[in-house]
Subunit: 348 residues, 2 copies
């Protein structure tokens, strides 16, 4: 077997006292970093999808709260923590569905409170350490997800994915794409079909870019072609990421994921979700409780810098949908491959 | 019951010795007519989807062959017919899937041969009469389709459609949209969900425009939202057009139609095709024999004047898919509502 090295990307990083992000709205035609030096800039970057993908949003938010207090001259750590909590509350309003956002913010809040006895400057360094640890953990989790997930991929498989659950959605290696990167690195010949993923085309712009950089055979399709490539026998597995997973396994992910799950079932194709356990929200019994963000109509009607629908048209643009657990063949996390019933498997 | 008048459009017409078309690639932001005075211009207009929709292509092609011989100074009608046949062969290469194109061209060829005894100028007028008759027939067929189809629509229905099977796809009233126009004119309150229909957004650009002009409640969705609106209970029927229907009822239509049919079945929603009988191709036993046009990769990667995928990416862009008859609840033609088994119903 030949093996391959997979190029990763610095999706989010702490550089020169700033939160450095790749501006993903400009990919693939421009590769540009932006340095966020205010919490408002981080909020805007998350809201506008300059940084996106549940794990990457979590890392960006963790660095964001560090940035929020970094130049704060509070006399006491208690005052510093009040400032941090305000910033965390604010960042939590940027995207409602990705649970990793809240998870990372809660972790930063907790660590701050646990270290209130430190002097303010020492506390800042401790918070930065924690954000770096969230970042590095995510990287390790992605590699573990890749290893577990690759056991499900066979030589010669056609694999369909949706949106971008790659290095750009995480700390650099991906969740759903980690499965493909790892299978490819193991020498398995795979052909990945990437849904373009309307309205913001993360599949066309980001996933194909990552797969091509990794030297994986890639074909871009419109979202409406998914059923056809399944019918033509080109697809042996579907693998996507998730933004939030309820205790019963119901999984919220980019709009169109539920469609793929229904189509996969109709064509007898296994459907997998790949996500770190930080995406699990055991406080939600089922997916009906996951709040679904609606995006602005303009993302659909003026998505290409040119108006492509009549003025005043009514638009329904949910950002996510929820795939019921019964349509999910397995959920791949850093702990392994979970099979139904998921509630039992998650608790084990 | 209130009743409404539905505004129609002059999609294709013979004006000032030219084939006048609405340039549909510019809608909805610009409403512009183009006058085709050469057969090459008609070919280009069909190929580039300035005129599209199986019935409208048929009408445009019929006028196109008239235009091809209109200024021809052939001394004999036999020579004129040779010229007409050359033009018809050429126009037949513009789009491979829409059977109405071949049907209309064959009809013009046959009428020409039947009237070879006429003087060349008289033959030209006879050919124009035939093209006008094809045009007017199509208009009558659309109204009949609307009447038959509206019997399947109930007050309060949410109706999902794909691509544009409206007035812009026909001689002015539509096939799938004729069903909605007629139901609305009968006073039934309906809410139509229009898939945007990637890559060329005929749903976003054309269908919403027609529905809004007609005063029908309309919501635009991305193609990947179809499953979600079905799951949310917003959709009671799916109605689309067709570009070619095989003898067993298998129906080729815009890519994504097969997806809708699978999703409709999974959600227990009736799925209807509306098309004139000129769309039937009884020479094809089943849909596997329908040739499927592939479109250029740039329609996906640079659809709106801006590149949205990496250079060199592999793209699979079939223009159509084939929905198997077993997923089609009924096929609505000008003759009535056909139910399975379709072969028997079509022959009756």
């Amino acid at each position: 077997m030949t093996t391959h090295t997979i190029p990763t990307v610095d999706t989010v990083a702490w550089r020169d006292d700033a939160v450095r992000l790749i501006d993903q709205t400009l990919l693939p035609t421009e590769f540009t970093y932006i340095d966020c030096r205010t919490v408002e800039q981080v909020w805007e970057a998350i809201k506008s999808l300059r940084v996106r993908g549940a794990p990457a949003i979590g890392v960006a938010a963790a660095y964001g709260v560090v940035r929020a207090v970094w130049n704060n001259n509070a006399a006491t750590s208690d005052a510093l923590i009040k400032s941090l909590e305000k910033a965390a509350d604010y960042l939590a309003t940027s995207r409602p569905t990705a649970v990793n956002l809240f998870w990372a913010l809660d972790r930063m809040r907790r660590v701050a409170r646990e270290h209130v006895a430190l002097a303010p400057d020492a506390l800042k360094l401790r918070l930065l350490d924690e954000a770096v640890e969230i970042h590095e953990e995510d990287d390790r989790l992605c590699h573990a997800i890749g290893e577990h997930g690759a056991t499900l991929i066979q030589d010669g498989d056609g694999v369909l994915t949706h949106c971008n659950a790659g290095g750009l959605a995480t700390s650099g290696y991906g969740t759903a794409l980690a499965v493909m990167f790892t299978a490819h690195a193991q020498g398995k010949r795979i052909h990945v079909y990437s849904d373009e993923t309307r309205p913001l085309l993360q599949g066309a712009r980001l996933t194909t870019w990552e797969l091509m950089r990794a030297g994986i055979e890639t074909t871009l399709i419109c979202d409406s072609v998914a059923a056809q490539v399944m019918r033509e026998g080109r697809i042996q597995r579907v693998v996507t990421g998730a933004d939030r997973i309820a205790a019963n396994g119901d999984s919220a992910n980019k709009i169109g994921t539920y469609m793929l799950a229904v189509l996969a079932k109709a064509h007898g194709i296994p459907f997998y979700i790949a996500a770190p356990t930080s995406t699990l929200d055991m406080s939600l019994d089922n997916g009906g409780l996951i709040p679904i963000e609606e995006r602005a109509a303009e993302e659909v009607t003026e998505g290409f810098g040119r108006r492509t629908a009549p003025e005043g048209v009514n638009v329904y643009a949910p950002a996510f949908d929820v795939t019921p657990a019964e349509l999910i063949t397995a959920i791949i996390t850093e702990k392994g491959v979970h099979r139904p019933p998921y509630r039992k498997s998650f608790l084990a």
